[in-house]
Symmetry: C2
Subunit: 545 residues, 2 copies
């Protein structure tokens, strides 16, 4: 009996899941993408999240290749972690390779990693698999999806895509290849679900051109455009507008400088050297001759735009007459920070344009009509929605049913679910235990629910620690020492401190010679006292010496 093909989305589906997919046949494994996730607001102190590699940990030697679809963080960001344990080569297109190199160099593992540059239209044989990258349009150039011919059939993975007929780089998606896959019978389609709740057709990147044209024509002062550092096509549009309206271009924000440099070197960004100025010159040239590209479109307080909004940018100050454009869509959870930055920019006298009030951003992902076209072009036997929260996956699954794919051939599953495929059946297997791996500082995975709960409690009410010294007879020596932070403003809370000392003294004398569990008794008494006084529940610890 023939073996089954396994598809395991790892951090590639689910609540906030992006993005790694394991494709496994007998003792050969392909991995598609290795992205990070961004922490939510209540994941306190967490820098980023990487997928839980549990499923592949005892199969590392079976991994034959890592196929990358495009250069966004949620598709390549975990490579600097994954490549410490995996030895297989990475396959990616030229721009994507350039971006990955920078990342691996920073992580000091570039020299140990094999990076193979491919291009859309190639055919690559790896073990039992034949891999055909095909061009897709997305908000970064040189994106591909993959057709993967396996011993049980042809799998198509879209990566992130939109059906943009007029992309800024002039390279529309490869509809013919999708049709050709279809003619060979596609066993299973894995497709991007990000916008599965958006009706219609996502607007072309080109519509931004008109909006920028108007902004650049009207603006009397400097123009500052904030966008994602990886949105190379948007950067190209800003550069084009700057050329048309005789403005020089400065770039502020490390990641945007890096990405721009790589994209220019590799020929994915048409931006001549004499167009570029140093950010210092942005304050000395006449205001109507300056355009500035900045990071921070998601409201990050330490990125360039965030520093401009609070006046903490070292080399640039927002002035009355400046026009600021936020050319990005808020990732859910970032709205509040973005609006705060907008308010602060307005306070400083800037004009501010954003997606909510001007046509300055379009999504990089397909909307529902494009999703329908994809499914009808590819005509897969089985359908697995990927990329997106559960609400998007379910909406995408429903859409596939509306197009006539029977329910039993659609797998709407969460991260870590093992899917098994043969020519005729798709079986939804068990879900591998394991969840997110938090990265905080240099620690990877050393922070779990206990630490997170403690951080939440500390964030809400701080801590209150009392050190009591007793002599041999159990009498208090000196006054108890108290350390407290994040609970009350101590300088103005003398009465609370005195009350706490009194509680300690009283509890100790009440317990007499019975000093067993004295510190627990003290902690209980202090917690009750502090709650009565303030309605707050700080973490209370007592140390008896």
């Amino acid at each position: 009996m023939k073996s089954k093909l396994r598809i395991v989305p790892i951090g590639g589906l689910g609540e906030i899941g992006k993005n790694m997919t394991v494709i496994e046949y007998e003792d050969e494994i392909l991995i598609v993408d290795a992205g990070i996730m961004f922490p939510e607001n209540d994941m306190l102190g967490i820098d980023l999240i990487i997928p839980d590699y549990n499923y592949i940990m005892d199969k590392l030697d079976k991994i034959k290749a890592i196929l990358i679809t495009h250069g966004h963080e949620d598709h390549v960001g975990a490579l600097s972690h994954l490549m410490r344990i995996v030895e297989a080569p990475i396959y990616a297109t030229r721009l994507t390779t350039g971006l990955i190199q920078g990342k691996l160099r920073e992580a000091k593992i570039l020299s140990e990693t094999t990076l193979i540059t491919i291009k859309a239209g190639d055919t690559i044989h790896i073990g039992s698999f034949t891999i055909e990258p095909f061009h897709v349009a997305h908000s970064i150039p040189d994106g591909v999806g993959y057709g993967i011919t396996t011993p049980v059939g042809l799998i198509v993975h879209t990566g992130d895509y939109k059906f943009d007929h007029t992309p800024v780089d002039g390279w529309p998606p490869d509809f013919a290849k999708l049709a050709e896959f279809s003619s060979r019978n596609v066993l299973c389609l894995l497709a991007d679900s990000t916008n599965a709740d958006r009706p219609g057709w996502t607007q072309s990147e080109s519509v931004i051109t008109d909006a920028f044209d108007e902004l650049f024509r009207e603006a009397q002062g400097r123009i500052i455009v904030a966008t994602f550092a990886s949105l190379i096509s948007r950067i190209q549009q800003v550069a084009n507008a700057a050329v048309r309206y005789n403005r020089k271009l400065a770039i502020t924000g490390r990641s945007m400088r890096n990405n721009t440099r790589i994209a220019r070197e590799l020929g994915y960004l048409d931006l001549s050297e004499n167009m570029l100025i140093d950010i210092n010159q942005a304050s000395t040239l006449p205001a109507n001759e300056v355009a500035i590209l900045a990071t921070g479109s998601q409201g990050e307080p330490t990125a360039a735009l965030g520093r401009l909004a609070t006046g903490r940018h070292a080399r640039l100050k927002i002035e009355k007459g400046d026009t600021v454009v936020l050319s990005a869509h808020p990732i859910p959870g970032n709205e509040e920070m973005i609006y705060r930055i907008i308010n602060r920019l307005l306070q400083r006298g800037a004009e501010v344009y954003h997606e909510g009030i001007a046509n300055v951003h379009v999504s990089g992902h397909a909307s529902r009509e494009e999703m329908k076209l994809l499914i009808n072009l590819v005509k897969p036997k089985f359908f697995v929605p990927v990329h997106g929260e559960i609400r998007h996956l379910q909406a995408h699954g429903k859409l596939a049913r509306e197009l006539g794919i029977p329910e039993e051939r659609i797998a709407v599953v969460e991260n870590g679910t093992i899917l098994e495929l043969d020519e005729n059946t798709l079986t939804i297997g068990p879900r591998i235990p394991g969840g997110y791996i938090f990265v905080d500082g240099s620690g990877v995975g050393d922070i779990g629910p206990v630490v997170m709960r403690d951080r939440e409690r500390l964030a809400n009410s701080g801590f209150f620690i009392t050190i009591v010294s007793l002599d041999e007879r159990g009498q208090v020596i000196d006054k108890p020492e108290i350390i407290s932070r994040g609970f009350v403003y101590l300088e103005e809370a003398e009465d609370i401190l005195e009350g706490a000392v009194e509680i300690v003294t009283r509890t100790i004398s009440a317990s007499g010679h019975n000093q067993e569990k004295l510190h627990k008794k003290l902690e209980g008494a202090l917690s009750r006292y502090l709650y009565t006084e303030t309605g707050r529940r700080p973490m209370v610890y007592v140390i008896v010496k």
Copy 2:
């Protein structure tokens, strides 16, 4: 020379500002509304924010009345604080009075407060002021704005409004009164700016009726509608749909039960007793005979919907076939929590409808075309946009200029700015120092930037406290004790703890007999060590006994 009229928005304008306005002429003060603000995501541990009363603190005896526009928290929520220091009577309409009574009763200050029930159309004389409440449509019934005739002229304050021609309570806004004000020459209009960036005309509350009708017609199982507890008209619509489709109605969530009770008692909610069932019955009646109203539409994890999403609701479980409707608009900052709840409800098998994918919510605030109508109806000499973030105030100010009000007659100002008016001039005065007052537990205003910064640091990296006991010769007695939370998972961080102990021992022997500032030296050494090991910066304290 005649005195000037002062208008001081206090917590009534600005970044997230709502909502209290001081109107002052010589030694008489009126206050319009006394609302709270909700904390943003990074205001850790804060329950709510009240306006800074600094401006009125030395003028308390001049306050003649508090005029309330409607019963929403951001207009009445601070009364339980304000009425502890102010003796003047509160004027409000009948439903609003009912809601305020509940609030003051809970704060145990109801008996000391004078509440005067007024109605739209009344004329009230208070000192030099003549006050004419006029009916407005909003997302809670019985809302009014105020025309206030002062010695320098007529001031119109809209409160929150929309121009809904077909409100659910059948009581459209009083256009005639606005026109009549206009015929008497309006000196200054203060108008709601919340939706100043939304083009067009806000849809009528009535459009929801169709959406609910379709949902109730199609749903096979139970229907759970989450909305604001104060959105009485929405509650009425759910009740109406339940009647039409033969479903009984259960209500879960304390604030919604309270508000529903008050609104029914006062006749603002048409909901017969035999329609209502206990939440326990929602699980025993046939699913298609049950509708449930729930709190938690903003993603609050401890409200009814949040508990349903995580399976922690004591008396109700979400089941496959349930239809959940989020009939509310996310307040910026809440999107992430709302989407998380949606995902979890989907995981439990519910169908979920929300504003993003179905017509189940409309705003309670006027959009730009209504704002234009208001200004052209009222024809004020001076214009002050109120309610909203700076971005909304600025947009509203621009809109007024487009309608022909000269720039010098428009005051777009932040919280605490003193505006002075006479018949011919509007002067923007200084801004009173002071900002938000944080309420945390029972503490009001005892938490400032120091505690907030500490909480942020604790949230990010926790704390690490070491207690070292030295004998008389400065030798370490026993092993140093370490208490740490929110930093690393201690059970698996033995090496770090051992390393820390070693650092302590080494630092102490290196400093020899020089024990001055020993704990500072130790704190520095430990901080450096912990950062090197983990890339994190917990709060580090050392106590030397």
